[in-house]
Subunit: 226 residues, 2 copies
């Protein structure tokens, strides 16, 4: 695929487009205008057209987008057809939850292996994926291509494990540890999961509504006092 | 606080600003220009100025922003001073991980209670928070103000528990269940956590790099063949 440099904000919107299109498809919608799509996503039609124009011509002027075709295009752009191989490191609470409930394959990934230090967990299988000992990780990395390592180890172990992954050519780290992984000259891509970003947006919306309600109550009181 | 209607995209950037400013503050930076802040966040200076202008005048032309003051302003805008009360429902893997590792208080929240159906967990304390029986939830909701319910129950239970929360006036649901919670006429705000959005962005970056490397290799081959 030929790629132009696309802004980070556009890239971050692609998964949201994909989810919305999946939802529309499941709901039996086969065509949608940029206006309607925008309304459902809180974006302007022109922003949507501009986002998609980074990747070619998708819609037809006046006819809108074919939902299924656009969905498949976005899946390709996101690399969901590449068969990326993931491993998971640290089968604690978060690691366990991801193995149990997160459908890697829905997003084009194969979860190929998991690693932990706890002898009680090592050797067990979880949704078809065997948990291996951390002692085997280095050999595994040398023998297998790993596109993404899901890092769900405790904070204290994060930096050391990340260094091992980076030194052994892992393509990317999906970092759940809340530890900033800084390896300046590394080619490994790091994606941090920040739960707090989501909670703080929610906090904003709750605060906004409380303020609105307080303002309404104050107006009603003034009116009653007139 | 007087609020104007701010676009969803601006609101979603606020937590990122906060994190960056916390990082700068910890690194001893006391002042930063919109240009430098933009560079570190992958945003243009004008976008940053525009974002902040939604909330008043923060910077001083030519002097940049005071990092600590801007951080505190954004914290206020996000409602981090409101003392929001959260409860957590479903102490499975994800719920447990959040209770263990997520510092609610860092973001202005008090985690006041947790609920589960498993008698083996009920009655235990986790980081000072007691796990109560689901049987107590309804009474708890009637007797206590709950600003945010963290929903970490299994998929199958998601809709029924959400309905209970909504019917009993919970302000917002932080939804980790991957189940679309649709209660059209409810005033409860829902914030969905989509791990897949983060993984798919990562997928994009990995695919992009592979394409770049392939293009480079092809160019090198052509050059060698000349």
């Amino acid at each position: 695929m030929k790629r132009i440099k696309v802004s980070n904000n556009v890239i971050r919107r692609l998964p949201r487009y994909l989810r919305k299109l999946d939802e529309l498809k499941a709901g039996g919608v086969s065509r949608i205008s940029s206006f309607n799509l925008g309304q459902q996503l809180g974006l302007t039609p022109s922003q949507i057209r501009q986002d998609f124009s980074c990747f070619g011509e998708f819609g037809q002027q006046g006819y809108g987008y074919n939902v299924a075709a656009l969905r498949d295009e976005i899946a390709l752009i996101l690399g969901m057809d590449r068969g990326f191989r993931a491993i998971l490191i640290g089968v604690g609470n978060i690691g366990h939850a991801l193995m149990d409930n997160f459908c890697f394959s829905d997003w084009g990934f194969t979860l190929a292996a998991a690693f932990d230090i706890d002898p009680e967990i090592v050797g067990k299988r979880n949704k078809g994926v065997a948990v291996r000992s951390m002692d085997e990780l280095l050999d595994y990395l040398r023998e297998n291509r790993v596109d993404v390592a899901v890092l769900t180890v405790p904070k204290e172990a994060a930096s050391a494990v990340a260094k091992l992954l980076i030194d052994n050519g892992v393509g990317a780290i999906w970092n759940f540890t809340n530890v900033e992984l800084t390896e300046p000259n590394s080619r490994t891509i790091v994606e941090n999961v920040h739960f707090s970003d989501s909670l703080l947006s929610l906090s904003y919306f709750v605060a906004e509504r409380l303020d609105e309600e307080a303002a309404q109550a104050a107006r009603a009181e003034r009116r009653a006092g007139m």
